[in-house]
């Protein structure tokens, strides 16, 4: 029973981070209808950025987030303007291929620059645990969850209460109508991709104390991010939040009760099931 | 027995009744005009009949066979073909290839299909355009191509959805002549149109839809004078 609770708790903690990844992806899809297959690589870049700051400046990964977030945002904005912007009206298959190509470029550039050697970030608290209700939880994961909650809350506030946030939501709901109402939809697309990238990078920063850092680490996250987004409903931020936690728990339980190597298979099978039987996800709109 | 019987057909999208208790009989050889304001459920009815989606309630009987939810390709093979409100050319294929795709519904031989397609194009005076890419045609040419393509499937019942939409008077006249010619060949047609004059000229019978329901039906001259129909189109103030 303890094992069940503990793995479920771990799953929720990591689920928070997954949620960040999913929210970023769903915002990008919601505003631009682009399926960003390079999302995992954006997360990977966040990890390497955090590692660079840690190893050269000694700044704790949870602190350096304040540097990582704006940097990733700018990076995302640049990527949007130079690449994504050009395929907004292309065939969806071509859009996916473009982002697949982008992902390959990012992961292989990083491999060229940093080599494939695993990097790790060890802090004083990397392997310590805190105890909540008698259950031991990994300290870095717990801190991640806290940070994630804060960021998610801020994001919700931004989207619900600010003018810009509402403009983004309007663009996601109906691009043409938004444009007719005077919203600069191109700028919204830049913002959306920037935010999505920043969230992915942040997720990367948050997991960097607990994961091995290597160029290919992104690919596992990409497909997982898609599962989360499809599960929660493409374009639904709340759905992505829920989806992230569900996937985190599912994966954690599968790793404990079935096998660590096959846990991803579980997630992918869930993905296919959702695509086939409930394509609109838990909370989103059907796109098919 | 009528060629096509639409019996008490309903189509719901969530809470919205796009088609509500629609009852229409299409006799063999006739041209039936289907009219009504925008959003009255005309295209929805076409989609239900041709299997794009099944009706929520009711029966669709074609040549004595119950269709309800039969896949569109099977419906076509049975002899019912439709054109689309928003033209759908197979853009990267040539005009000839487009019509051949239609013809291949009735044969597996490319040669037979090609001959049939050329014959179709010739009868519509489009044969010089045979090698042009469908994507490069003007709207009028695309509409004609769509009709040619669908005629190549050798239908008994042809459903035309606003085939004159967006055409200039000369092009519309061409289409009207085409429709009358098709009737002479023995085909039955159901035509959705907004052009009242055209409907008056070509229809043997007219059915009026409004807000998903059948508002009126009858001979064209009668329907056009029906006060309820005039109200539906033009509003109360204009009832003569």
């Amino acid at each position: 029973m303890r094992v069940l609770l503990q793995s479920a708790a771990s799953g929720i903690l990591i689920g928070g981070v997954y949620a960040l990844v999913g929210i970023g992806l769903t915002i990008i899809f919601g505003v631009m209808r682009v399926i960003n297959f390079a999302h995992g690589e954006l997360l990977m870049i966040g990890m390497y950025l955090t590692w660079l700051i840690f190893s050269s400046l000694g700044i704790d990964p949870f602190v350096s987030i304040v540097i990582t977030i704006p940097l990733m945002f700018v990076f995302g904005a640049i990527v949007q303007r130079t690449l994504i912007h050009r395929v907004l009206n292309a065939l969806p298959q071509n859009q996916i291929l473009l982002t697949i190509g982008l992902g390959l470029v990012l992961s292989n550039l990083v491999m060229l620059i940093f080599t494939s050697d695993y990097k790790i970030i060890t802090t004083r608290y990397s392997s310590s645990t805190i105890h909540l209700a008698g259950l031991p939880l990994s300290t870095p994961l717990a801190i991640s969850f806290l940070v994630t909650s804060v960021i998610t809350a801020l994001l919700y506030l931004f989207l619900l209460k600010t003018d810009t946030g509402q403009a983004i939501r309007a663009t996601a709901q109906d691009r043409d109508a938004a444009q007719l109402m005077g919203i600069n939809v191109s700028w919204m697309s830049v913002l959306a991709f920037g935010i999505g990238t920043a969230l992915a990078g942040t997720a990367g920063a948050l997991v960097s104390p607990t994961y091995y850092i290597f160029p290919q680490v992104g690919s596992a996250f990409t497909l997982k991010a898609f599962v989360i987004v499809v599960l929660g409903g493409m374009g639904s931020v709340l759905g992505a939040t829920l989806g992230g936690v569900i996937i985190g728990v599912t994966e954690s339980l599968a790793a404990v009760y079935i096998s660590s190597g096959m846990k991803e298979v579980f997630v992918y099978v869930l993905f296919l099931l959702v695509l086939l039987f409930k394509p609109s996800g838990l909370l989103g709109r059907s796109r098919m | 027995m009528a060629l096509l019987e639409i019996k008490h057909v309903f189509k719901f999208f969530g809470g919205l009744a796009a088609n509500s208790d629609i009852d229409v009989s299409v006799e063999s050889g006739m041209i039936l005009g289907l009219i009504g304001p925008n959003g009255s459920g005309k295209t929805t009815l076409f989609n239900c009949i041709t299997g794009y989606y099944p009706p929520s309630k009711g029966e669709i009987i074609f040549k004595g066979q119950r269709l309800n939810g039969l896949q569109p390709d099977r419906v076509c093979k049975l002899g019912m073909a439709r054109t689309w409100q928003k033209v759908r050319p197979l853009a990267k294929l040539t005009v000839l290839d487009n019509v051949m795709v239609g013809a291949l519904a009735r044969t597996s031989s490319l040669k037979v299909a090609r001959d049939a397609a050329m014959e179709q194009l010739r009868s519509m005076r489009m044969e010089e355009k045979a090698q042009r890419l469908a994507g490069g045609l003007s709207i009028g040419e695309r509409k004609k191509l769509e009709v040619a393509r669908v005629l190549a499937t050798k239908p008994e019942l042809l459903l035309l959805d606003e085939v004159m939409g967006g055409l200039n008077p000369a092009e519309s006249e061409e289409i009207i002549q085409l429709i009358l010619q098709i009737k002479k060949r023995g085909l039955t047609q159901m035509v959705i149109e907004h052009d009242m004059k055209a409907i008056m000229r070509i229809s043997d019978w007219v059915v009026v839809l409004n807000s998903g329901e059948k508002l009126a039906e009858g001979e064209p001259a009668q329907v056009v004078r029906n006060p309820a129909v005039i109200t539906a189109y033009l509003g109360d103030a204009n009832v003569a």
Binding site: V87, A90, I96, L104 | -
Partner: protein, 355 residues
């Protein structure tokens, strides 16, 4: 005709050229052509962009090599196992994925390939997992008492590869000039319109996938036999799937010769990188000192950069040449030869003229 001259030259080549590296390049070229032509059927003609085609490639390779290595089944029998496995999988994948459209289909195809890769990776007793299968040797091919080949040189692989490439080209040609080809392209252009014209979408999409899967699996078998070593990332990974798509889109998607052009671009490019020819050229030309930091960096890393180049190529092609090299050339020619007339070249049929 030009075609016969080229064919004769290809058949005669191993007699004239004995450099094993040259033969190796040609074999890689044949393999790339086969992979591209196979994908073209479902992706180019039918418009279903599967980015999970490595599933068939890998299953083909694994089926035949496992039968050979563990059950001593000669590859000319084992290949039937590969074909059967690929066809079965294609039916399953088709029934799952073809309900989905556009990007969702792409994602599902990737997910399925990943599931297969992970299963093969984890099913250690069966497939040897991450260590892969190292082929010991291929039994000699005999017809009655005469020895045809003992597979010890590159020559038999050259002819086998040539036969594979030619057969995929032939299949492409036959499909294109048949009812299948017309229906596949109709589905690509407008699925709903095709449906309403009497085309059974499920049947024809699955037919396209089955044909494509078959030849992709054959390519996998050939790869396994020639290279002699297979492992999950090598034959079931996303890289392999992307490569197949790339070969097609570089050359020109939906054309018979497109994948040939794509192969002619991609194979020399990756080999130049892999064999460090580029770095060596830079050193020889004196542009970079071999012992300098840059020189060492290039020597060590350029060899691994070929996937990076794939990625860059994908981006460049999608942005600037979505119709591939052939499409680009065609537009160029149309503009120069007939500046005022609309493009009137028929697309159904090969580049030699109207069908």
């Amino acid at each position: 005709m030009l075609v016969f001259v080229i064919l004769a030259a290809l058949v005669a080549l191993p007699k004239l050229v004995t450099n094993p590296y040259a033969l190796h390049l040609m074999i890689l070229l044949f393999l790339a052509v086969a992979m591209g032509e196979a994908w073209n059927i479902v992706g180019g003609y039918c418009g279903q962009y599967s980015v999970g085609h490595a599933a068939y490639f890998g299953v083909g390779a694994y089926a035949t090599l496992m039968l050979l290595q563990y059950r001593q089944v000669a590859p000319w029998w084992g290949v039937w196992g590969a074909i059967a496995a690929a066809l079965m999988i294609s039916v399953v994948i088709g029934s799952i994925c073809f309900r989905l459209r556009g990007p969702y289909f792409v994602l599902a195809s990737i997910a399925v390939a990943e599931i297969i890769r992970l299963v093969v990776l984890n099913w250690k007793q069966f497939t040897n997992g991450a260590e892969g299968i190292l082929l010991v040797d291929i039994p000699p091919l005999k017809l009655g008492q005469t020895l045809i080949t003992d597979w010890l040189s590159k020559t038999p692989f050259y002819y086998l590869g040539l036969a594979l490439a030619l057969s995929t080209l032939l299949v492409n040609y036959l499909v294109l000039h048949s009812k299948l080809g017309y229906y596949f392209q109709a589905i690509r252009e407008d699925q709903d319109a095709a449906h309403s014209l009497g085309i059974n979408l499920t049947f024809y999409k699955n037919a396209a996938l089955a044909i494509s899967a078959l030849f992709t699996a054959l390519s996998g078998v050939f790869y396994g036999l020639y290279i002699g070593f297979i492992d999950p990332p090598g034959v079931l990974g996303l890289d392999t799937s992307v490569q197949m798509v790339l070969i097609c889109i570089i050359g020109g998607i939906g054309t018979i010769l497109g994948p040939v052009v794509g192969a002619l671009v991609l194979v020399p490019l990756s080999e130049v990188l892999r064999a460090n020819l580029l770095s060596k050229a830079l050193f020889v030309l004196g542009l970079v000192k071999e012992t300098s930091r840059l020189g060492n960096f290039l020597k060590e890393n350029l060899a691994h950069a070929h996937v990076l180049i794939y990625g860059i190529l994908v981006v460049v092609v999608i942005l600037y040449m979505p119709d591939g090299v052939l499409g680009f050339l065609r537009k160029l020619l149309a503009r120069n030869v007939r500046p005022l007339a609309p493009s009137s070249r028929p697309v159904v049929g090969d580049l030699d003229g109207p069908a």
